[in-house]
Amino acid sequence: MSDALAIRDLQVHFHTRRGLYKALNGVNLGLRRGEVLGIAGESGCGKTTLGLAVMSLLPRNASIPGGKVIFDKKDLVNLPREYSERVGDRFNPKENERVLRRVGKAMTRIRGRRISMVFQEPMTSLNPVLPIGFQVAEAIYVHDPALLARRVLSRSKATPALLKELMALLVATHGDEASLRKFAAEHGLAGIEEQALFIWNRGDIHISRKEKAIRALSGAPVNRAELKIIEVVARTGSIPPQYARVPVLSRIVRRVLIKEGYRKARELLTSLGIHHAERVVKMYPHELSGGMRQRVVIAIALANNPEIVIMDEPTSAVDVTVQAQILELVKRIRTSVSASFIVISHDLAVLAEVCDRIAIMYAGRVVEVAPTDQILQKPLHPYTQLLISAIPTLEAKPVEGIKGDVPDMRAVPVGCAFHPRCPFAFEKCHEIIPIDLPHGNDQLVACWLYEAK
């Protein structure tokens, strides 16, 4: 099975007035399908830059002198890399901006839809002047209006009689999805499945209430003109150009679809454990607590069923009890959603909770990557070992700092970036950059100590 995402030898440089910062110096990493991969490191190691590079969200003064980010057999960074290779030292941020804009256009189908990102500060990722429901709805509307259109259509075609049959079917099959889908297909009600299942699967309401709710799914008030356009949207996935240009019509259709987006937002938020989603959907970000906001941001990231979700320090801005809630949430969604996850954090304990594998970064390179248990119990790379021994525990075992400082990324040490601080460094470490050496069971470590003799 191929990797969901493959990062090969990625290099990212930042051109600033203070000098050239070599943020990433040859990162090699593979994200396997369905796994939760953690990226750990201290400040300045490049983990956030890595996340931004994958999403092509780098600022214009970032150049990519080399490397690839391969997603679905395509290299996401080939344009900026080719530009950097072409101009070499004569890097110009303005020209780069043009290149990045082209990349941006190519990425619109991917960003938010196939790869989505959750940022550290939920307050700044949410627009403070738009209601929560709108922001979730917009995320779906921009990428998949057909989904919303189908839902609206299915409800307009659902007669009370049909819905009664549907309810009976759900009761008989105990909410079996497959038979529901068949039923919907047979009766031309494609798009009603997820709405019906959402009601059916709610654990907190009585069955008679559920029945009422399902019956209420019928007859969305949509007039003929809107209906026609929505049908086209459902079929083709976008508003047809002739209508898109007519301002009043396109606005009406947009309104209907966004309203539908609100309904879907309610379903999404409830599935992520937000109570009273009907109320939350109308609220503004500042009315919610930090934990709720983070859930909303995660909901937006998951709204379009992405293949990859990148979470950058998802719990750093929240309290430890809320952090526990978020971690439980992540553990729950990874089983119900088919995406692969990358979780970036400086807190190894957080990663230990949710990740299958953890990669440790230092000075712009991955120094070790292994399954969670292995890397925490038997860390191989000296930096990993020292890092783990620096974490205080409840048993108050003695902690050791690492002597020296994180290197200035304008002058990364030659050879292994860690050698000035490494207690085991020898000559080869001063000269040659270590390559990823396989070791043990599914472990890769970039350290000459493990070179097979």
Binding site: T16, R17, R18, G404, D405, D408, R410, A411
Partner: protein, 312 residues
């Protein structure tokens, strides 16, 4: 533990500041023009003869009429090789053929001196009041706010004229009037900077360490509040020159007082220009404008240097 890079850190900051400033082409242009003007002011102050200027404080050198009788009622001459800016005539006094270039060179010095005087004094008073009020707060702050409100609500030209008519219409009094107008701006600015800075934990640390309010204001707040204030000062010099030359231009100074001041010159030129002697207004006006522009461009560059984000 110190690396090589740390040793050079402070020196690099200066080089970085220079690099940031010089990257801004318009700021450099502004700097050049500004230096030309400053150069003129300095030379006229120290060794006026170098530029051929005599009697730097007088529009008309003494005994001019005696030594140059042909200049009696001589109309202004257009710019030419011998008089690059043309000549000027003070119609009321009936004295003509005054070299405009020389006049302008004297005036620049006066104008710059006045501008700096106004801004520096106004900034000093205003910033001090603003910092104290911002830190001490409570009723003092309220009082200051209301006082500055009053000053802001009156259109400044009117205020300046009013002050002038009360205390007398001389050049010095014009500067005083403008100081009175200018200090509330700095009080407000200094206060808002103080309000942000005083939340920083180093202020709390100073309190915890036993430093009194005075020490905190002068040792902690003021040095941190000064850099943006200095930038503001550099920007304001240009604005102030425009304002007080406008004042002179609209006739703040009585018409029997002749000073080498660009606005005043232009004021006299107003009478001459409709007769076709356009250079008598255009030249002094143009000089004021270019100086104000230069200072603004420079200030822009300075703002870049101070702002930590633009530095990167």
């Amino acid at each position: 533990m110190a690396t090589v890079l740390e040793h050079k850190a402070r020196f690099d900051e200066l080089k970085l500041s220079a690099r940031v400033f010089f990257a801004n082409k318009t700021a450099v242009a502004g700097l050049v023009i500004f230096l030309v003007f400053m150069g003129d002011a300095l030379i006229v102050q120290i060794a006026p003869g170098v530029l051929g200027v005599t009697y730097p404080n007088d529009v008309i050198p003494p005994q001019f009429t005696q030594t140059n009788p042909e200049c009696d009622n001589m109309p202004p001459e257009p710019p030419s090789l011998s008089h690059p800016f043309g000549t000027f005539e003070y119609g009321q006094q009936g004295i003509g053929c005054l070299d405009l270039l020389q006049l302008v060179m004297k005036a620049i010095r006066i104008d710059i001196a006045i501008a700096f005087f106004i801004v520096l004094v106004g900034a000093a008073i205003g910033t001090l009041l603003g910092v104290v009020s911002g830190y001490v707060g409570k009723w003092l702050d309220e009082v200051l706010m209301r006082v500055t409100d009053v000053f802001f609500s009156v259109p400044f030209l009117i205020l300046a004229l009013a002050v002038g008519y009360v205390i007398g219409r001389t050049l010095f009094n014009m500067a005083l009037a403008l100081i009175i107008i200018w200090w509330p701006l700095y009080a407000r600015y200094g206060r808002s900077l103080t309000l942000t800075t005083k939340e920083a934990t180093f202020i709390e640390s100073a309190r915890a360490s036993g430093s009194g309010r005075l020490k905190i204001m002068f040792r902690h707040l003021l040095p941190n509040v000064l850099p943006p204030i200095l930038v503001q000062i550099s920007l304001d010099v240009g604005t102030v020159i425009l304002i007080f030359s406008t004042l002179a231009f609209i006739g703040f100074l009585p018409s029997n007082v002749l000073v080498p001041e660009l606005g005043a010159i232009a004021n006299f030129g107003l009478d001459l220009a409709p007769l076709g002697f356009w250079w008598t207004v255009v030249v002094p006006g143009g000089v004021i404008t270019s100086f104000a522009l230069a200072v603004n461009l420079m200030g822009d560059g300075l703002r870049d240097v101070i702002d930590p984000r633009r530095r990167s």
